[in-house]
Symmetry: none
Subunit: 249 residues, 2 copies
């Protein structure tokens, strides 16, 4: 996978603010190659403002007068599309599509085409594409902002890039080792004794109390530092009980 081999192509964009938003979305996700096919207005102050710290992406943007020119050296081209089209074409969601693009980008030049704010890509433009991509939306309002659509596609590419380095679960990135079962058993013994001491637990009628507490602390998996905190609290509590008892209570 090579994000430098994936270009974003915006076709006939009306609002320069969207171009800026696209530039920022790309850079946030590690993409840098922007192509603009006949933008209505570019360069533009509004584009610069929305790009924030992605001005370099705007500066490097390639402006062309046709779609064909923007994709002429590409081996793999994806076109974004609404769901219903007269001519059926392979239509994937952004996740499936990102996988295809990522694979191709290892060796090939890849382009993703995004159409006009109001009308998307024409049928002729869509026919230039190997695949069509559709972002799932709510039926009640399916018209995505252009920069948002680019953000989603770039995000899916980023997720693929990141997955290689990501921890599989939240537990893997924990800073402190989780407690061993041995230490947990010592904790439960200490906890039970303390609950008896404070007379919250009646040994003659323990009911489900310890089961519930075991379930709770088993569910969370205490780390060693948390375990030490809990044991410290129990020890202090027991001291107060023995002071209270000495008082002849």
């Amino acid at each position: 996978m090579n994000l430098d081999n994936i270009r974003i192509v915006l076709v006939n964009t009306s609002h320069p603010g969207n171009i800026g938003g696209v530039a920022r979305a790309m850079k946030n996700m590690g993409l840098s190659r922007l192509y603009l096919v006949e933008p209505r207005q570019f360069p533009d102050e509004q584009a610069n403002w929305r790009a924030a710290s992605a001005g370099d992406v705007l500066d490097g943007a390639v402006v062309t007068s046709t779609v064909e020119e923007a994709i002429s050296d590409c081996q793999f081209v994806v076109g974004t599309s609404a769901r219903e089209r007269r001519i059926p074409w392979p239509l994937l969601d952004p996740r499936q599509c990102a996988q295809r693009m990522a694979t191709a980008s290892g060796q090939e030049q890849v382009a993703v085409l995004f159409g006009r704010e109001d009308r998307g890509l024409t049928n002729d433009e869509l026919k230039l594409c190997n695949l069509h991509l559709n972002v799932p939306t709510a039926e009640s309002y399916s018209s995505l902002n252009l920069a948002m659509a680019v953000q989603i596609v770039c995000y899916e590419l980023r997720m693929l890039e990141a997955q290689a380095q990501l921890p599989v679960s939240e537990d893997e990135q924990w800073d402190t080792p989780f407690a061993t079962m041995d230490n947990m058993e010592r904790f439960y013994t200490h906890l039970e004794q303390t609950l008896v001491d404070v007379e919250f637990l009646d040994p003659a009628a323990p009911r489900q109390l310890m089961s519930r507490l075991r379930r709770l602390y088993g569910r969370v998996r205490l780390d060693e530092m948390e375990l030490n905190i809990m044991r410290g609290i129990l020890t202090e509590t027991q001291k107060w009980v023995s002071r209270g008892r000495k008082a002849g209570n």
Copy 2:
């Protein structure tokens, strides 16, 4: 999964245009419940313009003066966060996080907090959360636009809705409702006071103790019965402290 049980909470948003962009992103993905904690300017023309056909989401937005107010009836709260934080908290990517939210949303009220454009959420706000969410970004430019971050999270929820089949998790089959944030805050107050009473916590040098305990109980998500057990233990403990003190120590 019920998207109507998932609210987006924007904290101290500076630019009204972002609020509009968020409203549109939400509606495109099928979400409708927007909460605004002390927005700098709202309602606003720029917000309406960026919202396009999502004016109804803006009209229905609930404005509050504190984060606590916006989440008080929620059982599951997610906070968006940059990757590096001093106290590590369970940190998931948007995909993993959306699965957790989707599952919870079947029965519970769920909130996702998004912070200020320039500074995100404060550490205190992050500590109110059960989980933290981090959108993966390129190292060279990690500062996402606010509405883009909301778009990505809502998109992941939409993808799950589209996939129809949710992963089964242990939370789905839970027998007792999970505690609300209001009740959790009462518990933390009670816990802190008790730890001061038993002299385990020195109010003059509290260090990270309460943070660590909040992280622990936020991670596990106490159900209402467990919460009652914990409060009962604290109450009994406090009685012993006061007996001990009467004994003149």
